[in-house]
């Protein structure tokens, strides 16, 4: 039944509904919708915030892919970071979650301890500390010298060959959130299944591979998607510790985007980079979703009841 506009206006729920979403709706227009379309427009312009934007068509995108080695470098660095840090972090998270899921003394306290680095890792204080821990005279080198007698005379953060690695270790160290999500997933696995396999004589490794992993695959999938998206957006760690250096070895995509937009005031170019990031994240997420049917095992409701 089609309602006339008058009925529509007399609907008291309409006023109530829009009154309640008003702050959010206003914010949506001002802080999301307007900016997203405006940045799309800016990505086709040359703009330095001081003078009006100049329409230049696809020039920004062309420059990015054909004439900007630093852009290519930033893509490579970010991809390498994501490709190494995300799987490593998930492995640690899963391993520790599986161990904590066993009957271990003080599992709750352990859970909090393993979560602490993640809780604090986002703060500038811990990032700055990381730089000193792995600095030339930091605790790590000092340890190596005093306990193992190994003299290390590099600063892990500022040496071009280890800078990215030390940022990857910083990211892997913060596996706490993924671990908590895995723990919740592990608790959902029916004990009866694992016991049945145990009775049948299946080894622990076999049970983990054939029962735990398939049942946990939706959770692994979720953590993977979130990890990839978060990895593409990495900023503070690099900005604070290395500033993208040495020799652009840690020039993460968002750092280069920030430099272009707010240091060189190439805001058109920065907008174009942001849109490439948006597209890349969307495409990658879609790809991972597409591939999920190949390896993610979704249990049907009937199966769970059994």
């Amino acid at each position: 039944m089609k309602r006339t506009s008058k009925q529509w206006l007399r609907n008291p729920d309409m006023y109530a509904g829009y009154a309640f979403i008003f702050p959010w709706l206003l914010g949506l227009f001002v802080f999301s919708l307007f900016p997203i379309f405006f940045s799309l427009y800016l990505s086709f312009t040359d703009y330095d915030i001081l003078s009006a934007p100049q329409w230049i068509g696809f020039e920004n995108f062309k420059e990015m892919f054909t004439d900007d080695p630093r852009f290519v470098k930033s893509v490579k660095v970010t991809l390498l970071y994501v490709a190494v840090a995300v799987p490593l972090r998930l492995c640690f998270a899963l391993a520790i979650a599986a161990l904590l899921n066993m009957k271990i003394k003080g599992a709750r306290a352990l859970r909090s301890l393993y979560y602490l680095p993640t809780l604090m890792g986002g703060s500038v204080a811990v990032i700055v500390m990381w730089g000193q821990l792995f600095g030339l005279n930091g605790a790590f080198n000092s340890f190596m010298r005093s306990i193992f007698g190994i003299e290390i005379s590099i600063s892990w953060i500022t040496d071009p060959s280890t800078a990215l690695g030390s940022l990857i270790v910083l990211s892997v160290w913060q596996f706490g959130s993924a671990m908590l999500i895995f723990l919740a997933g592990l608790k959902q696995i029916p004990a009866s299944l694992l016991e049945a396999a145990l009775v049948d004589g299946a080894s622990a490794a076999y049970r983990f591979r054939r029962i735990t992993l398939p049942l946990l695959s939706p959770v692994i999938f979720f953590n993977l998607v979130m990890g990839i998206i978060g990895g593409f957006k990495v900023f503070s760690e690099g900005m604070i510790l290395t500033g993208g250096g040495p020799h652009d070895q840690t020039l993460f995509y968002v750092i280069y985007l920030y430099e272009n937009s707010f240091r060189f005031l190439h805001m058109g170019y920065g907008s174009a980079m942001a849109w490439v990031l948006l597209l890349a994240v969307s495409i990658l997420t879609a790809l991972v979703f597409r591939s999920s049917s190949l390896w993610v095992h979704y249990e049907s409701k009937g199966e769970r009841e059994a």
Partner: protein
């Protein structure tokens, strides 16, 4: 029985290994705490020792001197100001929007809900430049407004979390309240809000931690020392072009983590559940 005792023995080794690894994992945090109590010369000459030779509390005094003539008290005050208003704004706007999406059937609600879910996926980097231009036009650069005002539009993730929570509350409650003559606004304030306190706490706790730790927005919008938040202040004190008093810097670093740790201790259950049930990143 032999099998169980063997299993116990295995578990003991396992427990020891898991505990040992946990110590390794939190060692950097312990090192930070210990370095904040060492004299600056000792921080690096004795970097491998966790217990300082002398407890050098003066670091905390000299740390509070801050930099550029501003006491560290000011930076804490700035951070607290920004964080509290952001949390309050987020909670108000998010619960309101969530209530409308969960309980009121109004024309366009499905459409706007879909819009909200889309913004969940949106990388904020796409929005930064136009937002900066907007705040620049409003003359809000180097004020706290750009850090606070967007919070009063709520957060998509929190709205989603609150909607999910409200859907678990029986609709019969709404109906009986309506029969008793209770209007929507009264129902929201008097009946719904008290029932969703756990979800509100989760929202507040995460918003608190994220805002307190945030570095990007302060870096972008605050450019004078007296406006600096704790994040910016610590970064400025660690400036590689200046001679850094590391002991004092570590002392302030430890203090900057205190609010986050306090919130974690007080609301651990909400944080753990928030992450494990909705995947909120911690």
């Amino acid at each position: 029985m032999n099998a169980t005792s063997q299993k116990r023995g295995g578990n003991l080794w396992l427990s020891a290994a898991v505990w040992g690894f946990a110590i390794v994992m939190i060692y950097p945090l312990l090192w930070l705490l210990s370095s904040s109590l060492k004299h600056t010369t000792e921080v690096y000459s004795q970097a491998h020792k966790l217990i300082p030779a002398h407890f050098y509390w003066e670091n905390y005094v000299s740390g509070f001197k801050g930099f550029a003539g501003h006491s560290f008290f000011l930076f804490f005050q700035n951070s607290l100001y920004v964080t509290i208003f952001s949390v309050v704004g987020t909670v108000i706007a998010s619960t309101m929007a969530a209530y409308a999406f969960a309980r009121i059937r109004f024309p366009g609600s499905a459409f706007w809900f879909a819009c909200m879910m889309l913004t969940l996926m949106l990388p904020s980097e796409v929005l930064i430049i136009p937002q900066y231009m907007l705040f620049n036009k409003l003359n809000w650069i180097n004020t706290f407004w750009p850090l606070i005002v967007p919070s009063f539009a709520g957060g998509a993730f929190f709205i989603f979390l609150l909607v999910q929570f409200m859907r678990g509350i029986p609709v019969e409650l709404d109906e009986s309240a309506r029969i008793d003559g209770c209007g929507r606004f009264l129902f929201f304030a008097k009946i719904m809000l008290p029932l969703i306190v756990p979800a509100i706490v989760t929202t507040a706790v995460f918003k608190f931690i994220w805002t307190w730790d945030d570095y990007f927005a302060p870096l972008l919008y605050l450019n004078s020392a007296e406006m600096a938040t704790v994040s910016l202040a610590i970064k400025s004190m660690a400036d590689p072009t200046m001679e850094t008093n590391w002991g004092a810097l570590f002392a302030m670093s430890v203090l900057s983590l205190v609010p986050v740790v306090a919130v974690f201790i007080a609301f651990q259950r909400y944080i753990v559940e928030g992450i494990s049930t909705t995947g909120l990143k911690g």
